[in-house]
């Protein structure tokens, strides 16, 4: 017997790439958990998508779910029955459930009855799942297009579905499902009648629609490589662009074009950006990895006349590069002094002043950072201007297509202006790393200005009322925070983030925001550390301090992670938790040295010893030995708890013991807050 199948296609006007990606993911997610009662042994699910359609195909399904009988509990027996006869409520109950009296089962003080379940049609369940999926996706932007007021990123225009050969029948976004679809726009604009899923696949194929995203992407890739090979060049790889163009066409056809040799005098980044941002072209490079005049592009048109289409595209890119050249020559006709003045008129942020103000803030922070790191990076004034002057150039300002090249442009221009490469590169380097995995700045100047820029960005966002929330992060604070921490770890910077934040807030005159920002940064560190395999509790343990040097925190966290399951450590952490509970309402006073037992005396002396040793070790960042010393306190602590009663009735003894514990806790807290550590057994208890 042939397998049952279901096919559904929703058609729309060209969806934006991002929306389409999201739609594809969410539909796949929704149907991955399609109820198993509709699945037969070889059930398969496929989700297809192009810019104009999304399709779901399920094979080897059950048309209706199995019917089964289940016993359902009804109201209490004495509500339904008075003796053997029905109460008024009982009669009403039978009527509402359409039951007969002798179908009721009386048991354990309640009535029960049998109910038939299942038998739902797969079509109905499909409809529910699909509609629920579509309406629950939070697209970036949606629109209305007709009187139904349905919201979607672009107008929905048709719906088509079959269960085997039978058309599906429901309504979505005011559109009734029907039995037609459309071909690739470049082939025809007429309706195309479909009979069933297999007919659909065949007709899509004949009409130049590759419905499978992955197959389409593979086609794009293979065709591009073929073209590139013919030219004996290599591709400037760009996975994002590849994904994007795959979602811009229903059937990829690759063409090659070229631009005039003279444009190669522009920086290659500008050319690559112009080709990509404007036209979604792929750049090609020669064997010496310099840029070639050739490019490849992906069209949607199988019948295109090659000559025309290439010529037309070449004409467009020529005028784009012409524009870039115009900006470029114009920009280089000015010197740095000119741009320093121009920065005064270029708004950085409405509430945070001009780029010139930003440069001044970064410079002060850089100066402050250098006072800690003792690095000498040369002329701060000059470097701070070099880092940002490109914001006032034609190429970058007004949010044009080359904005993403901010920094790269600055570095290039500064070198052209005659500054040496190392100084010039601060413009590019101080934006790095772009993410918490990105390329790092290498020069001391680059690192210093990167830290300064990010700290000021983070504080500035909070100062201007743009603190990030779960759904909104207009000033990319999240990215800056993660990049900052990542940079400080990778470059092993001995800087206290909290102190840098304080300094920056001091400059803004907004010290009151300190706690909020520090909390935010701690949360980001928890997330980042988790990606390094360090659980939240350990991160909290090492963060719970007045100062925060991310690279030190990570070293400590890794040490704890390694010994977390060590018996000594478990025991000590457990003991410290106990201490923490006992000391909940206690505060530090002078420690009276009138110990009554040797256990107290012993604990005190061991504490003194470890405390002194660790002081030296901590200054030298010898965390492993510090931790070892702390673990050596296990025995004195255990002995103390085994033999000494803290809450003694004698208040004097009690005070001594409490202050002794406070003293011991302090020795530990020089490393971290161990009471934060959570063991699996704790979690089980909580459950």
């Amino acid at each position: 017997m042939a397998k049952n199948n279901l096919l559904f296609e929703l058609g729309f006007e060209e969806l934006p790439v991002e929306s389409n990606r999201l739609l594809r993911e969410k539909v796949l997610e929704s149907f991955a958990s399609f109820p198993s009662r509709f699945k037969d042994s070889e059930f398969t699910l496929k989700v297809y998508s192009t810019p104009r359609r999304i399709a779901v195909f399920m094979e080897d399904i059950k048309l209706t779910s199995e019917v089964f009988e289940e016993e359902v509990k009804g109201p209490a027996e004495n509500v339904i029955f008075a003796g053997d006869s029905l109460t008024k409520a009982g009669e009403g109950f039978l009527k509402s459930k359409q039951l007969e009296k002798d179908l009721l089962i009386r048991r354990d003080g309640s009535v029960f009855y049998k109910k038939q379940s299942g038998g739902e049609a797969v079509e109905k369940i499909f409809e529910d799942v699909f509609k629920k999926c579509i309406s629950s996706i939070s697209f970036d932007k949606t629109m209305k297009w007709d009187k139904t007021g349905f919201l979607f990123p672009r107008p929905i225009r048709w719906a088509m579905g079959f269960v085997n050969n039978n058309p599906m029948n429901f309504e979505i976004a005011g559109i009734k499902t029907d039995i037609y679809t459309f071909a690739n726009r470049c082939i025809s604009s007429s309706r195309m009648t479909i009979f069933n899923a297999y007919d659909y696949f065949e007709k899509m194929n004949e009409n130049y629609v590759e419905i499978d995203f992955e197959k389409r992407k593979k086609m794009v890739k293979e065709e591009i490589y073929k073209a590139v090979e013919k030219l004996s060049l290599s591709l400037v790889e760009d996975e994002d662009l590849l994904d994007e163009v795959t979602d811009l066409v229903e059937f990829p056809v690759i063409f090659c074009g070229q631009f005039e040799e003279k444009f190669l005098s522009l920086p290659s980044e500008i050319i690559v950006a112009a080709l990509k941002q404007h036209q979604r072209y792929f750049s090609l490079k020669k064997t010496d990895s310099s840029l070639s005049v050739y490019f490849v592009f992906v069209s949607n048109s199988p019948y295109a006349e090659t000559n025309d289409i290439v010529k037309n595209n070449q004409r467009i890119i020529a005028s784009r590069l012409e524009d870039a050249e115009f900006y470029y020559n114009n920009d280089l006709s000015h010197d740095l002094k000119y741009y320093e003045e121009a920065l005064k008129k270029t708004v950085f942020h409405e509430q945070l002043g001009t780029f010139y103000d930003k440069v001044q803030r970064n410079k002060k922070l850089a100066e402050h950072i250098l006072s800690k790191t003792k690095d000498d990076i040369g002329d701060l004034e000059l470097l701070s201007v070099i880092s940002k002057f490109d914001a006032a150039t034609e190429m970058i300002k007004d949010g044009k297509e080359f904005t993403k090249l901010q920094g790269v442009i600055g570095a290039h221009y500064a070198e052209k202006m005659g500054y040496d490469r190392e100084k010039a590169s601060v413009s590019k380097e101080h934006y790095l790393p772009l993410t918490n995995e990105g390329v790092l700045p290498e020069s001391a100047a680059g690192i210093t200005f990167s830290v300064a820029d990010k700290v000021d960005n983070i504080c500035g966002a909070f100062v201007s009322g743009n603190k990030p929330t779960g759904s909104k992060d207009a000033m990319s604070v999240r990215r800056d925070s993660l990049s900052l921490i990542y940079l400080m770890i990778q470059k092993n910077l001995k800087l206290d983030v909290f102190e840098l934040v304080s300094f920056s807030l001091g400059e803004y005159g907004k010290m009151e925001l300190k706690d909020e920002i520090i909390d935010y940064l701690k949360k980001r560190m928890e997330v980042l550390f988790l990606s390094y395999g360090i659980s939240y509790d350990i991160t909290r343990c090492v963060l719970n301090k007045e100062i925060l040097c991310p690279s030190d925190a990570l070293k400590k966290a890794n040490l704890i992670k390694d010994i977390k399951n060590n018996e000594d450590f478990k025991d000590i952490a457990g003991g410290l938790k106990r201490v923490s509970n006992i000391l909940k309402n206690e505060s530090e006073r002078e420690l009276p040295l009138n110990f009554k037992t040797e256990y107290e005396k012993n604990l005190y002396q061991s504490g003194i010893k470890v405390g002194e040793k660790n002081k030296a070790l901590l200054t030298a960042n010898e965390y492993e030995n510090t931790l070892k010393n702390l673990l050596s306190l296990r025995k004195p602590i255990d002995d103390f708890f085994d033999n000494v009663m803290v809450m003694d009735e004698d208040l004097k003894l009690r005070e001594t013991r409490i202050q002794l514990l406070i003293f011991i806790r302090k020795i530990f807290s020089e490393f971290g807050d161990f009471s934060q550590i959570v063991f699996e057994s704790d979690q089980e208890l909580k459950r």
Partner: protein
């Protein structure tokens, strides 16, 4: 097909789609959207189909006629269809075929581009339409106009006429477009183009224009008090043009720029509101 034939042909096509064919507006506008036939009429939330050539003036875009693609003035063909027909994309594509473009031999693409006019408080979702990689049309489903959300959604189609002419005539420069059988675009427009560039960038009297802006702004408020919506809107258009001139002259700092935009948006919103009130009163 020369430039003027293109205009005639495309007008003929949209006339057959039951559009009211209008002529360009009599005041300087940056785009066909500014024409009251779009800005005010779509606020009716009624059936309204119109099409017209618009002379689009963008002082900042001038290059003294030296760049083959950039001019401070060009021609748009504007179509507004409210409510947007279900097959509006096809109707549009057929219009290209009507003016002689064999669409299936070329690469036509609808590339995401959400249009917005901050001064008009207008925005919508749509695309720029690419023909062999060249943007030839802006296609927008308006969601909001005059800062007022629309309940009947129109489609706005704005063709760049020079670009389409370049495509059809296979020309590399706007200057070389055949306007008529005898005259080229440059012969008809270039002299004025150059002079306006000098005017826009160098000689426009900024004190005078600033005062015109301020007086026009006052005029809008006064006229609205007198319930004269159309005349009031004319002065909003003027404000917008004066702002564009000042911007081209480079006398507006970024901060002031944002401020000017808000001022004009407030005016356009006030006009839209008054217009709506009156329409609602009539019902």
């Amino acid at each position: 097909m020369n430039f003027q034939e293109l205009i005639l042909k495309i007008s003929e096509y949209w006339s057959a789609q039951n559009c009211v064919i209008l002529q360009p507006y009599n005041s300087e506008v940056g785009a066909g959207t500014f024409n009251p036939a779009t800005f005010l009429r779509v606020l009716d939330n009624q059936r309204w189909n119109a099409a017209y050539v618009e002379v689009s003036k963008r002082p900042k875009d001038g290059r003294y006629g030296e760049n083959p693609n950039r001019f401070q003035q060009f021609y748009q063909f504007q179509v507004i269809m409210q409510p947007a027909p279900q097959n509006i994309q096809d109707i549009y594509i057929k219009s290209l075929e009507y003016v002689g473009i064999e669409v299936r031999k070329h690469d036509i693409r609808f590339v995401e581009d959400d249009w917005e006019s901050p001064t008009l408080g207008a925005k919508g979702l749509g695309w720029e339409v690419w023909l062999d990689g060249m943007e030839i049309t802006q296609f927008t489903y308006f969601q909001q106009v005059g800062s007022i959300p629309l309940s009947v959604i129109p489609a706005e189609i704005t063709y760049g006429l020079e670009r389409i002419a370049m495509f059809i005539q296979k020309k590399d420069s706007v200057l070389d477009i055949d306007w008529s059988n005898e005259k080229k675009w440059s012969e008809v427009m270039l002299e004025a183009e150059k002079e306006f560039c000098y005017f826009n960038f160098k000689s426009a009297d900024t004190v005078f224009i600033t005062s015109l802006f301020e007086k026009s702004e006052q005029e809008v408020k006064k006229l609205l008090e007198e319930d004269l919506v159309y005349p009031a809107y004319d002065y909003v258009i003027k404000c917008s043009h004066y702002f564009n001139l000042l911007d081209a002259r480079g006398v507006i700092s970024q901060k002031e720029r944002a401020n000017y935009i808000v001022r004009i948006r407030n005016l356009s919103r006030a006009v839209a509101k008054k217009y709506m009130e009156r329409k609602n009163g009539e019902e």
